[in-house]
């Protein structure tokens, strides 16, 4: 007879660790003594997974109440498990949208704070944390503390982008963005190569509050990094159709794909089709916010196409100081390493924000998805060496492979963060699989 397998938990990359998510509407009670809190598990790596030796993680998703909303000011306070999906569904038709949103709406407020998420408007509006007015945290010694840019400001700063390590976020108060209509005006263009792509991305920043793009990282030579740049802004009331955008039915990937389904050939075919689907050089028109912000949310569980072994996303930011060719050098490196990717997304980043470990800095962010193989660790190590040399850093919400010494090399702000953590949690009671791996926390 086979022994029962221990329960496991995984992030979006499907990398599994022994773990159990405990859920309750009463997040305050649930987090008492908890080692970590997770939200919707949309971080790819091991940041939402328990440290080795511990099974239970608090799950916030049932704590999803709006606690206050002021329609005059657009300030909203809600429990940490409230999702951006609910936020947009409830408030878009009333003229409000999340001030910053990642590429999926299935994230909680707690997750948005802990990752200090960025969106297509980073060059204009910064990270999510720039719009947060106050946080209620359960800190390691069991106390409940309210912090803000003026009350316990160091705790506040360390919590933005602090991957849940400074305390359990119970409530978030933040400023919604007022939007003139529930529609997006977009313009997209085909760009022949990666240098032209980066130039076009930077040039678009002045006129467009939101930009994003996809590039093909499999084609070589002169086609290297050909891509599609998409620019958007909220439609003014007079430009928008009279009817509200409709949300279509969602498709779901019902089971794990066999691991051979994604191979360099099928990825190449996907990239080819995706590029040439955009056969006009330039397109423009109206789009629903769902199609614009969350193209992948239409397919639930799309991560299952990677099969049982799962995948990782490598996301780094390269500073402007690294020069115009930095993205091409990254692509060359990736091609040389043989890291085939389905999606390679390059985004524009504005200046570094308030969060002590917040990811973006002035430059560009590059993200590539990679199916896990025996070579993944080596590829990540090599890319990290490149990123360190260019003066960049990686995004902890996506990471599962970076080595602690590399993280330290790319993160001069780490000591400031650790000092705050030492003050509020000297015994490092709150920890995760990621903090054990990267910060040397005990198990």
């Amino acid at each position: 007879m086979s022994r029962p397998t221990p329960p496991t938990l995984a992030g979006w990359g499907l990398l599994e660790r022994p773990g159990v998510e405990c859920r309750s509407e009463d997040l305050a009670a649930l987090t008492r003594g908890a080692v970590l809190t997770r939200g919707l598990g949309r971080s790819y790596g091991d940041s939402s997974l328990p440290p080795p030796g511990t099974l239970d993680v608090a799950g916030s998703v049932l704590a999803d109440r709006v606690l206050a909303f002021n329609p005059e000011t657009g300030v909203l306070r809600a429990e940490a498990g409230f999702s951006l999906n609910s936020l947009n569904r409830l408030f878009l038709h009333r003229g409000f949208f999340s001030p910053v949103t990642p590429g999926t709406s299935f994230v909680t407020l707690g997750g948005a704070v802990a990752s200090d998420v960025h969106g297509k408007n980073h060059h204009r509006d910064g990270c999510f944390g720039e719009h947060v007015r106050a946080l209620k945290l359960r800190v390691a010694d069991g106390q409940i503390v309210e912090c803000s840019p003026t009350v316990e400001p160091e705790l506040f700063r360390a919590t933005l982008g602090g991957m849940g390590l400074t305390g359990h976020v119970l409530e978030v108060e933040f400023q919604l963005a007022r939007v003139p209509s529930p529609w997006i005006v977009y313009e997209s263009e085909r760009v022949p190569d990666v240098d032209a792509y980066v130039d076009a991305l930077k040039a678009a920043a002045a006129d467009w509050p939101m930009t994003v793009g996809w590039i093909d990282c499999l084609s070589r030579g002169k086609n290297l990094g050909r891509g599609i740049l998409i620019k958007g802004r909220w439609a003014e009331a007079h430009e928008a159709p009279p009817e509200p955008p409709r949300t279509g039915p969602k498709l779901a990937i019902p089971f794990l794909f066999p691991s051979w389904a994604l191979n360099p050939l099928s990825i190449r075919a996907f990239n080819f089709l995706y590029y040439w689907k955009h056969w006009q050089r330039r397109r423009a028109g109206l789009m629903t916010p769902d199609a614009f912000f969350y193209p992948l949310d239409g397919i639930l569980h799309w991560n299952r196409i990677y099969g049982r072994r799962g995948f990782t996303q490598y996301q780094c930011v390269l500073p402007d100081a690294a020069g115009r060719g930095a993205a091409r050098r990254f692509m060359d490196k990736l091609t040389a390493l043989g890291g085939a990717s389905f999606l390679c997304v390059i985004k524009d980043c504005g200046p570094e924000g308030t969060g002590l470990l917040s990811f973006p800095l002035k430059g560009i962010s590059i993200a590539v998805d990679m199916a896990l193989t025996d070579r993944t660790q080596g590829i990540v190590d090599a890319l990290n060496a490149f990123v360190i040399a260019e003066g960049g850093r990686i995004y902890l919400s996506k990471d599962a492979f970076t080595r602690p010494e590399d993280f330290r090399r790319m993160e001069p702000r780490l000591d400031a963060f650790l000092a705050v953590r030492r003050k509020w949690d000297p015994e490092r009671r709150i920890r995760s699989a990621q903090s054990v791996r990267l910060l040397g926390d005990g198990t």
């Binding site: 859920r23 309750s24 509407e25 049932l62 109440r65 709006v66 606690l67 206050a68 329609p71 409830l90």
Partner: protein
């Protein structure tokens, strides 16, 4: 509708209250924790600013609280026409077998006191020409099954009560809707391993709201459970004795 929800602070009751308010109905929450009720009222107000929302204390463990709670709901809503009861206690078979005090509480809350509460509602609604009573029972009350002997017995009693009530009073205007959820991912089932067809509270709320409008006497929700239970109802006794569910 002007709906009262006992148990609306959590789980399926929370989802149902939100669905009712979003659909334009006034909602009055009943529950045992005042502070928690206040937070849920704020939630409903922020989500659906145009409907009337309020709350009053009511504890299924204390029947003395039922009358004042219904008075408060009547006053707050200007006379309610619909009452949903989602509140209940759960315990696994192992817990209930091991703890007689817990068992007594569960049998009392989930059956006796729930019926007393429904009776208080019945007299009120009938005195003004009828209305809707929506009672959350469970698929656990459908057959005697090994993993839910005790909880299932309480729910079986509740199901029988709902059926009888509906037969007796529908003609007089009181429509009774018996909701039989399958496995739904709420705090109640948080520690348990989810079977196939496990549902979300939001799905349940959509199904229940539709059934309330149609006046359906019985709702299996989420929908696949209707088929699952149709099969389980037909299984001969000797098969039920062997299987583990």
């Amino acid at each position: 509708m002007k709906a009262v929800v006992l148990g609306g602070t959590k789980g399926m009751g929370r989802a149902l209250s939100r669905a009712l308010a979003a659909d334009g109905h006034d909602v009055w929450l009943l529950g045992r924790n005042a502070e928690d009720l206040a937070r849920s009222v704020e939630d409903l107000k922020a989500r659906s600013p145009s409907v009337k929302v309020g709350a009053a204390p009511c504890d299924l463990e204390s029947p003395a609280s039922f009358g004042p709670a219904l008075d408060a709901a009547d006053a707050g809503l200007g006379g309610f026409d619909t009452v949903a009861v989602t509140a209940a206690l759960f315990g696994t078979q192992d817990q209930l077998e091991a703890d007689a005090a817990l068992l007594q509480r569960l049998l009392t809350v989930d059956f006796a006191h729930t019926v007393l509460f429904c009776e208080a509602v019945r007299t009120r609604l009938l005195s003004r020409g009828g209305g809707r009573l929506v009672v959350f029972s469970s698929v656990a009350g459908e057959r005697g099954r090994k993993p839910v002997v005790l909880y299932g017995a309480a729910k079986a009693g509740l199901t029988a009560y709902c059926e009888g009530l509906d037969h007796r009073y529908r003609a007089a205007g009181l429509v009774t809707v018996c909701v039989k959820p399958g496995f739904v991912k709420t705090g109640m089932t948080a520690g348990l391993k989810a079977p196939p067809f496990a549902g979300e509270p939001e799905q349940v709320a959509v199904d229940v709201l539709r059934a309330m409008k149609r006046g359906a006497p019985v709702v299996y929700t989420p929908a696949p459970w209707a088929l699952v239970m149709a099969i389980i109802r037909m299984l001969p006794r000797f098969v039920m004795r062997r299987v583990g569910f």
